[in-house]
């Protein structure tokens, strides 16, 4: 199947269905379950209700913003990729085999950044004061919500490109594989993340608000039959409890 589809459900085909929770889109709910550590088990009614309640509070508190722009892509050397014109300060060069593999065949790439705002972070802080359960759920739900928003944006970019008869690669973020997290700084600078969507970086390159995602989406004239996407590209393969199957 085309590697342009990143809408996996996060479940292996023979796992029991964790069902749904009232008021939450299915894919988001499954993301929440995955982040809470439920791999193949259905959460009970009480937990499901708690998840729904927290999700509603999260929706009220979130403020979705996004920014994205397209840049030319070139490969100046083996294992290196340049995003942006070579002559311009408006771009960066990365040495990353994994990113090169992801962007192979691409002439352009979209840099994007999304956030669901600072509200969810405050909710998590608040919840943590009286007990960790709601905090843990809110944390999971916030991550799932940001993922979902990023996925929506990704899908709309895919659709736009398809109209121009072009194909998107699976989105790839700083921190995946050998694409260094350091490049968050370049994302921030080039997209003016603080000004455009209110996202800044801590000294250790964490985004604040924390429920924010940056990604590169390569664009090519031909589809790729076998792409390296998301979890598959990540070197934490054995250890990550949140890995999508």
């Amino acid at each position: 199947m085309s590697s342009t589809c990143t809408g996996t459900t996060g479940l292996s085909s023979d796992a029991p269905d964790p069902g749904t929770a009232p008021g939450i889109p299915v894919s988001v709910y499954r993301g929440i379950c995955r982040y809470l550590g439920y791999r193949n088990i259905v959460p009970d009614d009480a937990v499901r209700e708690r998840i729904s309640r927290n999700y509603r509070a999260l929706e009220d508190a979130s403020d979705r913003r996004s920014v994205f722009r397209a840049f030319p892509v070139s490969f100046p050397a083996e294992g290196a990729v340049r995003i942006g014109l070579s002559s311009s300060a408006d771009g960066f060069t990365v040495e990353s085999r994994d990113l090169c593999r992801n962007l192979k065949g691409c002439s352009e790439a979209v840099l994007l950044a999304v956030t669901i705002g600072p509200g969810p972070d405050m909710l998590v802080r608040r919840a943590g004061v009286s007990g960790m359960l709601d905090a843990a759920i809110l944390q999971a739900a916030g991550a799932a919500m940001a993922e979902e928003y990023c996925e929506e944006l990704n899908q709309s970019i895919i659709a736009d490109e398809r109209e121009k008869k072009r194909f998107c690669r699976p989105r790839f973020s700083p921190g995946y594989g050998d694409f260094p997290l350091l490049f968050q700084k370049d994302f921030s600078r080039i997209l003016n993340m603080p000004g455009a969507i209110g996202v800044s970086l801590t000294d250790n390159l964490l985004m604040v608000p924390s429920k924010s995602i940056t990604a590169v989406i390569g664009i090519a004239d031909t589809p790729l039959s076998c792409g390296v996407s998301g979890c598959d590209a990540c070197t934490a393969s054995g250890n990550c409890p949140y890995r999508k199957n």
Binding site: P43, V47, D63, R69, P209, N239
Partner: protein, 844 residues
């Protein structure tokens, strides 16, 4: 007085427009820092300033928007771009013959009043955001932000700027840091404009009301809005601004909303359309107008032509009284507001204990509970002789304002505690209190004048508490007069009419009520605002709530503006809501009716009127097991308790524990029921049949049981099994995992010293040495911060080699843990508990 200060607010001033796109047109590349052109392309900068001067601008904004030490890491370069930025604007106005003469009176213009007149032009040092979010949301400490702004402002002021313009602020805390920096580093006029979204909110939640109140409290010379939106979208926001601002209002919109075309940002609103829309803005009564992104000299020229002929409307003093947090403004004087009184150690053993132990979560919980019960403002009193009150006040205020949107009332008699709290408070706080004595006035009023605040004045002085209402009002008058001298406006004064107990003076309530009436009528000062500590009226009487709630109704009828009371008390809230309805302060009695809908049917005393949902919902799909009846045997009680912990039923666990304590010694109950239940759940978690939510629900239930046990044991605290430091290491701000470990360790009777997150190695090591700690738990969730973990371990080995270190976190692995020298790798909370048992058990 400089001529700019004289003109600001007494005549219309035209600001310049955007600079960024003009520089781009001259070749500024994307990704290039524009301020560097102050050094490399000075003539281009002068050309832009000149174009705006010719277009009719009175105010030039220097090309220093992004100039701060975070973007310019070389201090010499930073100083140079700032200095040059001011000098270039000065050069442009000199060449244009627009230098103000020293004694320029307001309203002066030579020749003609059109845009190209030789009106004097003024240079504004442009201060933009740092690009980092302030703590607690981000990691930039407030004082560091103040420092960053201060160094730029000092340089710019020395270089000859006429005023400081702090703009494009999307966070009220950062706006405060910048405004404070300006007030403390120079004596120039300070203008602050913020950026709202289309809903009228700042990125971090501020509203027009909350931001205006805070900035006016800081005594900025003008405030307003820039960027984000075009003039049409800004109209409702500017309308509210002009309704409540008592200082001149500044409006610098974008040329409409941005569009992206071929990778460039395009603004569609042209000069004519812009100036027409600005006429509507001007009609609202705005004193400074210009433009931001997308505007050009042509926009400013059209703007000036359109609005200069209009009659000038000064801002005018507004008498609205607002107490604000980072996101909320509470108005005093419309209907009685509730100030929650529970954050106060007086008469509260558990609270005092929490203060001594530094248990901030306990205090935060009191705050949140009052918020959920309907408090509008939270009183914060942490005065206890044996603790460091200023430090505690600073910490509690910081932590509280990070979790609640309610404004706070800083309640202290310690001047240092007051100053520290007001300085770091994100908003305009209420201050409790000053009184009529000279000493109190001299200690309290200057601080409130500097940082802003709504000040409570107690109607007592050197002669004590006056017996009559007239005499109390006389003291109040003196407080208003003193406030005026210190620069605190009358609208920010609230008088405490003083409620003395009727049990010692039968007329005391009548005196208080009469005082309230006089205050409300404005006999003491124009604000007419009053406050009472309601419960004082009943000291010494039985069933105090009954007297308090009756008194509250009477006081509200006399015009009480704010009631310091307990919102968790059903009697008080019933009286409050009924009185609102009776006094026509509850439209159609809607709130009263809604509250009644949440009340249980029988109206016996003690029914809670609350709109908040039950604290815990029962775990488990099937209905909760019935509580064991009164005749249950000890075995049945122990079994039921274990069951409620396993099922995560916190309320049940607490109730059963109460009954069980009459049959069991506390320690026996813990060992017979609680620990086995926790162990069973923990084993399930390790095996993968029980999941995190259940683990936490069970932990909550066990915690509820432990709390009951602690209450019964109060006075004979049992020694913890062991003391453990937990911390998320420097550079990392993830702490949920660490907090879960803390919950589990405490459940197993360990005392946890939680140092929080982003903790430097030195702090961990110092605490370990000072408290003689045997086991330290470190958490990190980013590969980049594992280095901090390694540094911490190295330091610990050096200064306290007998301490063991257990590590955890999403990126941690056995191999990594071994590589950095940890003693143990714990994959989850239960594993940490088991390891702690092995460490401390080995010593018993």
């Amino acid at each position: 007085m400089s001529s700019f200060r004289a003109k600001l607010g007494s005549e219309l001033l035209i600001n310049d427009g955007g600079m960024g796109s003009l520089l781009q047109a001259r070749g500024l590349k994307g990704g290039e820092l524009p301020e560097r052109w102050n050094v490399s392309r000075p003539e281009d900068i002068i050309a832009v300033h000149t174009a705006y001067l010719e277009a009719g601008a009175d105010m030039l904004t220097t090309n220093t928007f992004g100039a701060n030490a975070l973007k310019y890491t070389d201090p010499a370069e930073l100083r140079e771009v700032v200095r040059r930025g001011v000098e270039l604007a000065a050069e442009a106005r000199k060449r244009a013959g627009r230098v103000p003469s020293p004694a320029e009176p307001a309203g002066a213009a030579s020749a003609s009043d059109d845009g190209s007149a030789r009106r004097p032009a003024y240079i504004g040092l442009d201060i933009g955001p740092t690009g980092k979010l302030l703590a607690p949301m981000g990691d930039l400490p407030f004082e560091r932000a103040v420092e960053l702004f201060s160094e730029v402002i000092r340089t710019g002021a020395e270089a000859g700027a006429d005023y400081v313009i702090i703009e494009t602020m999307s966070d009220s805390y950062e706006a405060k840091a910048a405004a404070l920096a300006a007030k403390e580093s120079c004596s120039l006029p300070v203008l602050v404009t913020v950026t709202f979204d289309s809903r009228g909110k700042l990125l971090t939640g501020g509203t027009v009301d909350s931001v205006t109140a805070m900035l006016e409290g800081l005594k900025v010379d003008a405030l307003g809005v820039n960027c984000g939106l075009g003039p049409v979208q800004l109209l409702p926001i500017v309308k509210r601004l002009t309704e409540i601002a008592s200082v001149p209002v500044v409006v610098n919109p974008n040329a409409g909303l941005p569009r992206y075309e071929n990778g460039a940002t395009v603004y569609d609103v042209g000069p004519e359309e812009f100036s027409q829309a600005m006429l509507d803005i001007a009609a609202l009564g705005v004193q400074v107008m210009g433009g931001c992104c997308g505007t050009t000299p042509d926009h400013i020229r059209a703007l000036a032509a359109a609005v200069r002929p209009l009659p000038f409307r000064p801002a005018g003093e507004k008498s609205i009284t607002l107490v604000t947090s980072f996101s909320r403004a509470v108005e005093l004087g419309k209907r009685t507001v509730i100030i929650g009184e529970r954050i106060n150690p007086t008469g509260k053993k558990a609270f005092k204990q929490a203060l001594r132990e530094g248990n901030i979560d306990y205090i935060l919980n009191e705050g949140l509970a009052q918020e959920n019960a309907g408090a509008d403002i939270l009183d914060v009193n942490v005065g206890l002789p044996e603790i460091d009150e200023p430090a505690m006040m600073a910490e509690v205020v910081s932590r509280l304002q990070a979790v609640t949107p309610l404004p706070l009332q800083i309640d202290t008699s310690d001047p240092e505690a007051l100053e520290r709290a007001l300085r770091l408070y994100n908003g305009k706080a209420m201050v409790n209190s000053v009184n009529g004595t000279a000493e109190s006035i001299e200690k309290v009023m200057p601080v409130v004048a500097k940082y802003g605040g709504v000040l409570v004045g107690l109607a007592l002085d050197e002669n004590g508490i006056p017996d009559s209402a007239e005499d109390r009002v006389a003291v109040a008058r003196r407080i208003y007069a003193a406030a005026e001298k210190y620069g605190i406006p009358a609208k920010d004064i609230v008088i405490d009419a003083l409620a003395l107990t009727v049990s010692s003076d039968g007329r005391s309530a009548l005196t208080t009520l009469e005082t309230l009436r006089k205050l409300h009528a404005g006999e003491a000062g124009s604000s007419g605002l009053s406050i009472l500590g309601v419960s004082n009226i009943s000291f010494g009487l039985p069933r105090r709530e009954l007297v308090n709630s009756a008194f509250l109704g009477m006081a509200m009828e006399c015009g009480l503006s704010a009631a310091i009371m307990n919102p968790l008390s059903p009697e008080m809230m019933n009286a409050y809501r009924s009185s609102l309805a009776l006094l026509s302060m509850d439209e159609n009695c809607m709130e009263y009716i809604a509250a009644c809908a949440n009340m249980p049917a029988a109206s016996s005393s003690g029914t809670a009127v609350s709109a908040s949902p039950a604290r815990t919902s029962p775990a488990g799909g099937s209905s909760a097991p019935a509580l064991p009846g009164p005749g249950s045997s000890p075995e049945e009680l122990a079994r039921a308790l274990a069951e409620s912990v396993k099922r995560g039923l916190a309320d049940q666990a607490a109730q059963i524990t109460e009954s069980a304590l009459s049959h069991f010694e506390p320690l026996d109950l813990i060992n017979a029921a609680l620990i086995p239940a926790l162990d069973e759940v923990g084993r399930g978690f390790e095996k993968g049949t029980v999941f995190l939510p259940q683990l936490l629900l069970s932990a909550d239930a066990a915690k509820a049981a432990f709390e009951k046990i602690k209450e019964s044991m109060a006075g004979s605290a049992s020694a913890p099994k062991g003391r453990i430091i937990l911390a998320t290491v420097k550079g990392d701000i993830h702490d949920i995992g660490k907090n879960i470990v803390k919950v589990m360790l405490e459940n197993y009777s360990y005392e946890v010293i939680d140092l929080g997150k982003d903790v430097p190695p030195e702090v961990i090591a110092d605490t370990a040495v000072r408290e003689n700690i045997r086991l330290v738990g470190l958490s990190a969730l980013m590969t980049t911060t594992v280095v901090s973990m390694e540094d911490t371990i190295k330091l610990l080995r050096k200064v306290k080699p007998d301490t063991l270190v257990v590590v955890g976190g999403a990126v941690m692995t056995e191999e990594y843990a071994a590589a950095i020298g940890a003693d143990y790798y714990a994959p989850d909370a239960m594993a940490t508990v088991r390891y702690a048992d092995s460490v401390f058990g080995a010593e018993i």
